[in-house]
Symmetry: C2
Subunit: 431 residues, 2 copies
Amino acid sequence: MLFKKENYQIKTNSIGFYQDLEHIDGIGISSVSANLYVGKKRDEIVIFYFRNGANHASVYTQSKILSENIKWNLENSSEKIYALLVNTRNANAFTGKEGFKSINNIATILSEILSKKQIQDEEEPKKIKNKNLLFASTGTIGETFPEKKISSVIPKLVENIKYVQNKYVWMKAAMGILTTDTKPKLSMEECKIAGTPVKIYGLAKGSGMIHPDMATTLGFIFTDAKISGSILKQLLKKNIQNTFNAISCDGDTSTNDMVSIFSTGYAKNSKIKSYKDKVLENFDKSLNNVLKNLAKSVAADGEGSSKFVIVKVEKCKNENDAKKVCFSIANSPLVKTAISGEDPNWGRIIMAIGKAKVNVNLKKLNINLGPYKIIENGKLFQNYNEAELGEYMKSQEININIQMGTGKKEFEVYTMDLTKKYIEINSDYRS
Amino acid sequence: MLFKKENYQIKTNSIGFYQDLEHIDGIGISSVSANLYVGKKRDEIVIFYFRNGANHASVYTQSKILSENIKWNLENSSEKIYALLVNTRNANAFTGKEGFKSINNIATILSEILSKKQIQDEEEPKKIKNKNLLFASTGTIGETFPEKKISSVIPKLVENIKYVQNKYVWMKAAMGILTTDTKPKLSMEECKIAGTPVKIYGLAKGSGMIHPDMATTLGFIFTDAKISGSILKQLLKKNIQNTFNAISCDGDTSTNDMVSIFSTGYAKNSKIKSYKDKVLENFDKSLNNVLKNLAKSVAADGEGSSKFVIVKVEKCKNENDAKKVCFSIANSPLVKTAISGEDPNWGRIIMAIGKAKVNVNLKKLNINLGPYKIIENGKLFQNYNEAELGEYMKSQEININIQMGTGKKEFEVYTMDLTKKYIEINSDYRS
């Protein structure tokens, strides 16, 4: 099945954007409610089922305190995955041995039911083991994991699995993994590997505080390309750097962050020898696009955001310095509040550059806000026009561009402004 | 002159606290208005004059972009200082060569007028040079420095210098160095050096956004002890670590931060050989108290703050790790908004510990909020009572105590909550 051209169109919904996804071979999807958000009608349990298995790679949070599902994945999950189970509402973090055991119990039930499904649906049924499963959780920290509620809906969840997807199935799944995100996050690309067309689909959830807690970023990438787990790992590690690792909402890091990629191999492309293989060139770019679109939509939908902000630092000595300056600006409450106030307060940008602990050559420093020059060679631009800039600051997307004049490297970071609504959302008492 | 006992009393004004200061030998003070805040009746220019000179040491901002007054100090100021001139409203940062030249011009006028004052008032008048002056600025970045306005009030400023101080003179000076601080910051201690009583007085200004710009922290310590500049430097560097370097309002760093200490030598204590000299033991402690009181009052008066927060990390492998965990909690917008919402949301504290990139031994981790145990040996405390904690969160001072269980070192950090008022203050358009 080929893509419909219109799906490439990025659909914007206020400052969010998403693409419609279609069918992709080898993946079954289902989502149900386990009544975890009592009184709210929504799905919280989503399964992605790979009937013929999928090669897999994941990257996890850098937090020193890991949720129990992530610990479980690290200890148990193999390269070959048959299902990814996602739950919201409860992060299964700081839940101790019990939380870990809950995942194990659910895994045992799920692998058994999926093995039966194999016998029912497949010509050559496989026995699915616990190690063929992967778990993602997001939600409250420290509350008892609702094992019983989740395990009781597993039969229905598996029963509802659809082998043919359309945009509605994907949208339902994309909505099912959200917490307080205000918009679903979906992205897609098609490309060719040595002449064979392949698809790359992705879903994400971003910064939303659920019942009590914190933003967790989850990203799931699905492709029908045939790529080994170890090459997927290298591709993911490489492409995460300027995508999911280039966003910041408030500088906080969750216990549950994970980004995973699954390849079903249905596209039957020729064998790939290494992640640097020339035949992967287009795939590599397309994967980066999908990850970048998802990452951007996470930043744009950051809690309470009214503006999407892109910070680019160019002509820098090295990429690491560029990154430091980007994040120093993107995480500065003073810069972010100025943006929410639509104030072109470039003094704060200078403050944030200065505090990044990166050497600055003032004589070569340029700062642009959108198309407008502010600082040229370390001096206020002679045609600096504050009224013009004030107009620009009313835009929904703000571009901050810094040229350090110390080299040739660059980095770009995506974030949003800091608003009263952020405080409102996050200072509300949990109950 | 001996201290009056009542001055030791810390006077609290809402969440701020200050002490009354008295006379200290060898220091003259004066403050005037140069009409820098047009339409507002307040002083913005303050001079501290040392009629017989003072030994001096300063520490400056770690920002890579320095204000012009700090550059000037670094290039020009000697160990022997006759006057410190402070201005508010304009940071003299990103003002280039012109801003630097302005300081130089003001220095030339000031040193000349002070030399005349020496002839007029002193038996053995000294010729005061530019290098005997020190400058502190705070306010807007990038605006032309108001050299003419400032230099025109210098004669009046010097004419008004008072050699005898009382609490009103100090209060006037403390108010004159503020920007949008809501409270003056003054602290004092007396102690003895080998039997000789000495005084340590201090003033500070903290996080206030002025006209357009950012928080600058300034701290000035005055003592009548007789201590060399190099020993002052070592004492200041040592004692700044757990005082001014242990506060965080929003994680932003100014181009203008500076803390200086001046010793007039009027107390005529015996000669001190090294900063580790045993006779300095009490002085060292008292200096730390004065710096800590000022630092705390800066944090308590952080922009928009409604609560003062103390984060203490104990039983840690090393001090650096303890500091990392402290600041990870103190700078977390999610923790700070929970505090402003009076929500004992300990899940966010755990998140902030996890993201600090310090190894965590969950089995030994303890978390207390005020007198209440929350986490004991990595588990929710069995008598955890959320209602009790909810009551505690209504306090004006919140104590977060973490025991890492990985060693014996500790660190303590002072901060405040993050409120809608912070966003209001900082997202208001500058004009």
